[in-house]
């Protein structure tokens, strides 16, 4: 059995290796964009079942953002919602035989965590400017600047490790059990993996929103009292 921690390129484009996670991500992207296009092609005031499900998803994301930030959800909806949907679909892609979830390789969670890290900076600077964002590291006092800067990195790193660890471990366990036991034995573990994947997607999205909100509030001209 090959270790799931090892990634073998599918093919090379010059010096650039194309890993299976990238191809799977492209497939997920195509599927999501195609589904989104089909869903939103004929939006009506009286929704169909699929449109109602799509609107339920959007409303749930909006409500979650509003509950966390207390602000209008429109600026964060696309980023947070896409993170949630992508991670969820990526985690659940393990149900397709022969497909390894992209989130089970380190590069994908690391890329997602890096995007969250950059989005924290982006939204913080957009809210309070560069000065305001940097002043947020000096709260509650300048002594905390090194710790706050370290925290901004470690919390993104923790998101990366958490997502990668949970998904990778699920895939690892299923692979081990599948190699040792009969065909249907891993099914309960796969169901548990589905739950774990949904929870991890939710946690990653909510933590991203919390961190972005924290940066926005610290960078605001009149930061809210804790």
């Amino acid at each position: 059995m090959d270790s799931p921690l090892l990634s073998v390129p599918l093919f090379m484009v010059g010096p650039v290796p194309i890993m299976p996670a990238v191809v799977t991500t492209w497939a997920i992207m195509a599927a999501l964009v195609l589904a989104a296009g089909l869903l939103t092609r004929r939006l009506t005031l009286v929704p169909s079942a699929a449109q109602a499900a799509a609107e339920l998803l959007v409303a749930a994301v909006d409500r979650q953002i509003r509950d966390v930030t207390g602000a209008p959800p429109a600026p964060f909806r696309a980023f947070i919602g896409t993170l949630f949907v992508f991670i969820l679909v990526a985690n659940w892609s393990s149900l397709v035989p022969g497909v390894t979830p992209p989130t089970a390789s380190m590069e994908t969670p690391a890329a997602l965590a890096a995007l969250v890290f950059l989005s924290i900076i982006f939204f913080g600077i957009r809210e309070g400017g560069v000065g305001g964002f940097l002043r947020g590291f000096a709260l509650p006092n300048p002594v905390m600047i090194p710790l706050n800067m370290l925290e901004s990195i470690t919390r993104s790193f923790s998101m990366f490790v958490r997502l990668f660890g949970n998904v990778m471990s699920g895939v690892f366990v299923i692979a081990i059990v599948g190699s040792l036991a009969a065909l249907l034995v891993p099914v309960p573990l796969m169901a548990l993996d589905l739950l774990t994947g949904a929870v991890q997607a939710y946690i990653f999205a909510v933590l991203s929103m919390v961190f972005i909100t924290s940066a926005v509030e610290k960078g605001a001209p009149h930061p809210k009292e804790p």
């Binding site: 270790s3 921690l5 090892l6 990634s7 650039v16 290796p17 194309i18 890993m19 996670a21 990238v22 991500t25 492209w26 992207m29 999501l32 964009v33 989104a36 296009g37 869903l39 939103t40 939006l43 005031l45 929704p47 449109q51 799509a54 609107e55 998803l57 959007v58 409303a59 909006d62 429109a74 909806r77 696309a78 980023f79 919602g81 896409t82 993170l83 949907v85 992508f86 992209p102 390789s105 380190m106 590069e107 994908t108 690391a110 890329a111 997602l112 890096a114 995007l115």
Partner: protein, 254 residues
């Protein structure tokens, strides 16, 4: 364990592209549709509220109109009741007046009928009296009656004033008798008149059976009625003047 920086870059770019694509094709259209539905619902709710407000206003107007109609109906009923009362009072008054008029008319008719009956009875009594007197005169001695009436004629002349007697003595006199007097009777009458007037007179004689009995003296300007018919007429006149019949018939006859 391996970590490929190219894959890290690919995945970051992939996710960013996916964010943009879903933002373009999913999140924005669906959110816009939700917002449009909410706006449409708010519009419909506002329109429904406005319609309900209009309905409430119309209902209030209707209630006011109904109340006004009720008030008007009460007023009309009161006016109709008042008119009916007035009409009833007018009808009662008219009926009362008509009844009074009918009663008065009936009473007047009854009075007239009683008066007519009384007149008829009086006339009948008068006729009966004349008949009785005529039959009595027929059974009585004609000479004695003539003598009595002649005596009453002389007494009547004596009751006249002297000027009247003097005027009668020079006038052309006529004696009207119930029965034709014979020559002797005419002589006695002429003698008695001459004695009563104090001057010789020669009267003319005429017969009128309507007198029943007696002698009357007439001149162009004077009449001395002295007959049973005249007495009966006087009695009848007295009865007409005194419906109770208490007039002195006997004295007038004498």
């Amino acid at each position: 364990m391996s970590f490929d920086p190219w894959t890290l870059g690919f995945q970051a770019v992939n996710v960013l592209v996916l964010v943009w694509l879903l933002h373009r094709f999913f999140w924005t259209p669906v959110a816009a549709m939700i917002a449009e539905r909410q706006a449409r619902s708010a519009t419909l709710l506002a329109a429904a509220e406005a319609t309900r407000a209009e309905a409430d206003t119309a209902l209030a107007d209707l209630e006011a109109a109904r109340a006004a109609i009720a008030v008007e109906r009460d007023a009309m009923l009161a006016a109709a009741h008042k008119d009916a009362e007035a009409a009833r009072a007018a009808i009662l008054d008219a009926a009362r007046d008509e009844a009074t008029a009918l009663h008065d008319t009936a009473r007047a008719a009854r009075v007239r009928a009683a008066a007519a009956l009384k007149r008829a009875a009086r006339q009948e009594a008068q006729g009966l009296a004349v008949t009785i007197a005529r039959r009595l005169a027929a059974r009585l001695d004609g000479a004695a009656i003539d003598a009595a009436f002649l005596g009453w004629l002389v007494q009547g002349i004596a009751d006249l004033s002297a000027a009247e007697r003097a005027a009668l003595s020079v006038a052309r006199l006529e004696v009207v008798s119930a029965t034709p007097p014979d020559a002797g009777a005419q002589a006695r009458i002429a003698a008695a008149l001459s004695a009563a007037l104090g001057a010789p007179v020669t009267p003319g004689f005429r017969t009128d059976p309507a007198l029943i009995a007696g002698h009357e003296l007439h001149s162009p300007h004077f009449s001395l009625r002295n007959s049973w018919a005249a007495d009966l007429e006087r009695i009848a006149a007295a009865l007409r003047a005194d419906p109770d019949g208490n007039a002195g018939v006997t004295s007038d006859a004498a």
